[in-house]
């Protein structure tokens, strides 16, 4: 049997048995929703409806209902797109990369982190569609055989790369997530009574793909997970690299930067972990999962945030240095304008939320506090949104010819769509938390005997 060093903090708190884990994980699915859930759901759902109306208005009237203009052709739309895509990254990192590195602490958070990925990518995928002037011709961007003569997509365009990157990412994430869910669905299926809830039973039976828990099933499950983890790992790096190329391959000062791919990936992980924290800290309270999502988990993530935040800070400084070092006046002005121009407040928000505030995690008491982490994670989320806003809007609004310089101000619809996607995201996440096993219980059970607090104590006593 595997043993774990004593000095490692337990990952499951309390005297839990295998059955306790089953019960705890199945509780939200089997039980009734509490008041907090309903309040959150009502709020999110109304925001989602707002999104639907705002999108309908945009498509009905035109992109003119947003605040864009002849100089700033993208603003909140692509900001939101990159933000949501970035948020997704932590999920894949937790489930794939940490799996390959055999990090056990991922087990109680990977399910939700991955759900966040999928829901985040779904929000992100909305924007390339609705930001189009003629979204009903969206299929033009897919290389599908057509009868328009020799028309074909432009493989030189980073937007096309985006299409492939996002669709690949989304499908691999969904498959990976689902494979992990199969034993857990089977667990719920087995606990369901076909007399009390026949439909539910049928549904979970269907979803668990005939899982029987045989050794062969477990063996294949492990193999597939490993293979998919291997497949998903490069995606963590490729997707946001490709998204960054939307900007990096352009000629606009402030966009045309070779540092963008690693910079964007780091930023994505940074914001993704912040969002995981935001979600999990709420979820462990609402769904009573305090035993499984411990401060140790949070601390691990805080360390990653501290690391990636500092690296992102390095990237910001590098950009400034390169602008100065390049000797190109357009480049120099672009960065000077970011910091001191009319959007200095956005740059200042970005710098303080992303670089300065995460430095607080050097302090142990902040790093190991749920409340402080929750607040800081919100700051990081805001900061990362501003990072994309700064990159997109402040680069565009003053580019080469001063005659075209102008500014951007969001319209009501812009705001509605952004808040609406947050509503949509939470709607999906809240529905998920009531229908899906939010912790990968089958996996978690494998570490109960080694990382459970009571078991560790027992083990220690035996050793003595």
């Amino acid at each position: 049997m595997q043993k774990e060093a004593e000095i490692r903090d337990p990952l499951i708190i309390g005297n839990k048995t295998y059955h306790d884990i089953t019960v705890d994980v199945a509780r939200p699915v089997e039980g009734k929703a509490n008041k907090q859930w309903w309040i959150l759901f009502a709020l999110s759902f109304s925001m989602f409806l707002w999104l639907v109306l705002a999108i309908a208005y945009t498509i009905g009237v035109g992109i003119g209902s947003w605040g864009l203009n002849k100089t700033v052709g993208w603003a909140w739309d692509i900001t939101n797109f990159v933000w949501w895509i970035g948020i997704g990254h932590a999920g894949t990192l937790i489930s794939a990369v940490l799996l390959l590195f055999r990090q056990k602490w991922r087990m109680s958070i990977n399910r939700s982190a991955e759900a966040m990925t999928i829901f985040g990518v779904a929000q992100a995928a909305l924007f390339p569609l609705i930001h189009m002037g003629r979204p009903w011709l969206m299929y033009y961007v897919f290389p599908i055989p057509n009868q328009f003569g020799s028309l074909w997509v432009n493989f030189n365009s980073p937007l096309l790369w985006d299409v492939f990157a996002i669709s690949t990412y989304f499908s691999v994430s969904v498959v990976f997530w689902y494979i992990g869910l199969i034993p857990d669905f089977a667990m719920i299926r087995d606990r369901m009574s076909s007399k009390i809830a026949p439909m539910k039973k049928k549904l979970y039976t269907l979803m668990s793909f005939g899982w029987s828990g045989r050794a062969k099933h477990w063996q294949r499950f492990e193999e597939v997970s490993l293979v998919l983890a291997g497949l998903a790992t490069p995606l963590v790096f490729s997707v946001h690299s490709i998204v960054s190329m939307d900007f990096a391959t352009s000629v606009i000062p402030g966009w045309h930067t070779t540092i963008f791919p690693p910079y964007f990936v780091l930023g994505a992980l940074f914001s993704g972990f912040a969002m995981v924290e935001t979600l999990l800290i709420i979820m462990r309270k609402v769904l009573h999962l305090e035993a499984y999502i411990t401060i140790k988990h949070i601390e691990y993530m805080n360390v990653i945030i501290l690391l990636t935040g500092s690296l992102v800070g390095c990237a910001y400084i590098t950009e400034l240095f390169m602008a100065w070092y390049s000797g190109v006046e357009f480049e120099q002005y672009a960065f000077l304008n970011r910091a001191t121009g009319p959007y200095w407040w956005a740059y200042a928000s970005m710098m303080s939320c992303n670089v300065l505030i995460p430095q607080l995690y050097w302090i142990n008491s902040i790093r190991t506090s749920f409340i402080a982490t929750f607040i800081l994670s919100i700051f990081v989320n805001i900061g990362m949104w501003f990072e994309r806003f700064v990159i997109i809007v402040t680069s565009l609004h003053r580019d080469y010819l001063p005659s075209s310089w102008t500014m951007f101000s969001p319209s009501f619809i812009d705001i509605a769509i952004f808040l609406g996607t947050i509503g949509f995201f939470f709607t999906l996440f809240l529905l998920y938390s009531r229908t899906f096993p939010v912790i990968a219980q089958a996996e978690l059970k494998t570490i109960l005997k080694t990382s459970g607090s009571e078991y560790k104590k027992k083990l220690n006593k035996n050793n003595e």
């Binding site: 035109g62 992109i63 864009l68 189009m132 002037g133 003629r134 299409v163 190109v328 609004h397």
Partner: protein, 991 residues
Amino acid sequence: MIENKKYWKGIAQLNDDPVVKKLEENEFVDKLPIDKLFEENDLSTGNTSRRDFLKFLGFTTAAASLAACEAPINKVIPYVNKPEEIVPGVANYYASTIYDGHDFASVLVKTREGRPIKIESNNTCANARVQSSVLSLYDSSRLRSPMISKVESNWDSVDKDIIKKLDEIKENGGKIAILTSTIISPTIYNLIDNFKNKYGNVVHVQKDSVSSDGILDANLDYFGIRKIPTYNFEKAEIIVSFGADFLGNFPGNTDYAKQYVEGRNPKNKKMSKHYQVESNLTLTGSNADHRIQIKPSEQAGLLSQLYRYITKKSTTIDSRISTIGKSLLESNSSIVLCNSNNKEVQLIVNAINDYLKNYDRTISIRNHTNLQQGNDQDLQNLIYEMQAGQIDALITYNINPSYILPDSDNFNKAMSNVGLTISTSKYMDETSINMDYICPDSHNLESWGDFVPYNGVCTLMQPTINPLFNTRQFQDSLLKWSQNSISYNDYLKDTYKNDWENKLHDGYFDVELEKVPLKQVKNKDLLIKNFPIKKNSNNIEFCVSEKISLGDGSQANNPWLQELPDPLSRATWDNYLTISEITAKELGLRNWNVSNGALNGDIVDLTLGDVTINNVPVMIQPGQAIGTVSMAIGYGRTNAGKCGNGVGLNVYPLINGGEVVIEKVEGVHEFAATQLHHTMMGRNIVKETTLDEYIKNPASGNDHDKFLTHEGKKRANEVSLWNKHDHETGHHWNLSIDLTACIGCASCVISCHAENNVPVVGKEEIRKSRDMHWLRIDRYFSSDMTKEVAKDQNASAIDMYSKMEDPSVNPEVVFQPVMCMHCNNAPCETVCPVAATTHSAEGLNHMTYNRCVGTRYCLNNCPYKVRRFNWFQYSDNDAFDFNMNDDYGKMVLNPDVVVRSRGVMEKCTMCLHKIQELKLTAKREGRKIKDEEAQTVCASACETNALVFGDVNDKNHTVHKLRKDERSYDLLDHLNVAPSVFYQTKIRNKS
């Protein structure tokens, strides 16, 4: 089917239980209500099966959805008898003339299938207003029939009424007045004479919206002829203009821009030197080599001093104009001109020119212009007579006195004393609304006419379309009222019967020079008054200005003109009080940008004498002299039509200028400007040099960015990563833009609008920086802060760039037309995911509207920001109620250019449709395209030849030579986007 079915109430009934039968014999049997159910419509016997029903359902659904899918039907009606000259799809051009009392141009009218769609110049400059008049033709706000007391009527009854009343007036010995703008048509003079013969006591008064009495009366005194001379700016070495905007708005300036630029060709190693002494920044002033700011009240004194200095009567001269005095004396030829409407001042100008022997060299009073001959005194007398009730009938033509007169209330009151008032206005304008009869004149493009704009030249006007509405041209009305049965068309033909066809074909011809007996004034000095230079007072002085776009305001209902950015302020849909930054600070007035970049300004009350104009927006204008303010006429129309009503404020009441009181009031004005940033920020965008430097080194000022490589410093195009297109074979279209020749007049912009169906988006959208102009003229002011200054002052980069944003108080101005550069390494082409924008073998960047999904990536990646996105549906949309939402307005659309729909990107095509048409013509005729045959409309509209378009592969073509010229450069050449549009450095003649 149905009747075979058996319905039962219970098993007993089914089994034919006797109990049931027994029960059925009861009195009240409870039967199943089947019969009732089926008896209606006879359903029980119907033979529609369930399958039939589904078939019907399927068919109707399919039919309904098919019917719903059908595209709307637009009927195309073929000619029953095709007119000989019309070939569908082929344009016809007719020579004609545009003259509205203010602007004159001999033009070529392009018609398609009988519709005039574009106005091009024919041997004279056609300015923005003249070109826009084609849209005014299709203005649905025009009157559609004659009116009696504002009720629609018909010509017969109107004529009957009018003739009857005129006869009565004649019998009673009454007096008839005809009030017009300046008439330059010999036949109209003849017709008025005939009218006079018929009715006896007839007076004809002419009045221009902007009066030129000063110069006219001065010439009357000085030469004995009340005419404005013509100038030849090409021959002048020194040009000194005291406020005269001869490149923008000046009587008879149809060719001045062309001459001016020809006299400033650096290739000749000689350029005229242009001094402009003025208070408000005019288009002319912005082109000057030296610009001196003065207050309007100082003008007379300075001119007087200049005169005394030149004639050596005195040696004192104001330091501001001392170089002018010296260079005038040293020069061989010069022109001095002035915008003053004061006879005494203009006499000084005449004396200076006379002393410098400019008459008959650079200024010709013999070849005078007939434009602008109005006489304010005549009008004043007329108003007195009207007030006294001595006028019995008033006929107006081409004039809107209730709008253009400073004291229009007075005129309106006087008019109420006139028994019979007849307007021939095309609109129910400010004057016509108070008149008894309106006999709407036809538009220029629907009329016949003859004009003598200059002594010795006659031009003809011919209709290019039948009158759209029930209108009749003024000349026909005059003939009718003179009870002459001949039509004006025949009358005109009779007048010019020799070689009529050719004259009409050419549109202009020479006529015998009217011999002008010039009066020889013996002691001219006696005419000259001496003006002292006024002590600098702290009072703020006001003078009016006139915009390139709206001019005198007669075309205020033209949305193209309303949306044409002012060349200097770049504002649209507005007039405003321009003020120097320093004066604004003193008065506590501000301009600022709001969160979407749009410009806001403070509001003031402006009082001049006893006239107060409330809520005047203030715009800080670099170049406006300190202590002066200025505002454009032509705005504030109340009866212009839906586009022109209520746009801006009417400053005709202040036309004579003077000292004003400015009082800040509560409120904010929202401007709609297409350019919000005014300096080049130290960037090498407009490259410029001086003439001296140019002569030493023709490539001076034309520095190219070079980059360090392992093989030494190289230009961007020498280290390209791009796969080169083959542009050696076939055509390679290029456009050269000479920044020395571009005066910023914006004719090319309007020309582009007309040709390419560029939509009008309205003030709100312009404010959101969403103008749709394919061609814009960037205007940059110089700043006091430059990189050199920053180095000297050791200023930080932040400090330098923030100061660079502020233009100088007296800035140098540059104009730079920017359209799609048609890059050969186009950043837009690589980023479009659907390949909607692609490169042509002829070096053009194509835009496929059908394919565009509207990601706007191309717009973002365009370093020149020339791409325009259709944010909304701009045609057939009530939210954009301009010409494209109007059945008449839509007739101006060019059928060769598609009207773009919502959600697609658009941009300059380099008039691809014209190139294609030309190629097809050449192919059909089995020949090559000739030199200069291919033209974009911007290039053909450019009177100063600043824009030259052509095939750069053609070694003999001018554009090929221009490409090789030392002055030529690519905008942002360090990006190596290899644009097909290139610029020629700006050269100033300054020391």
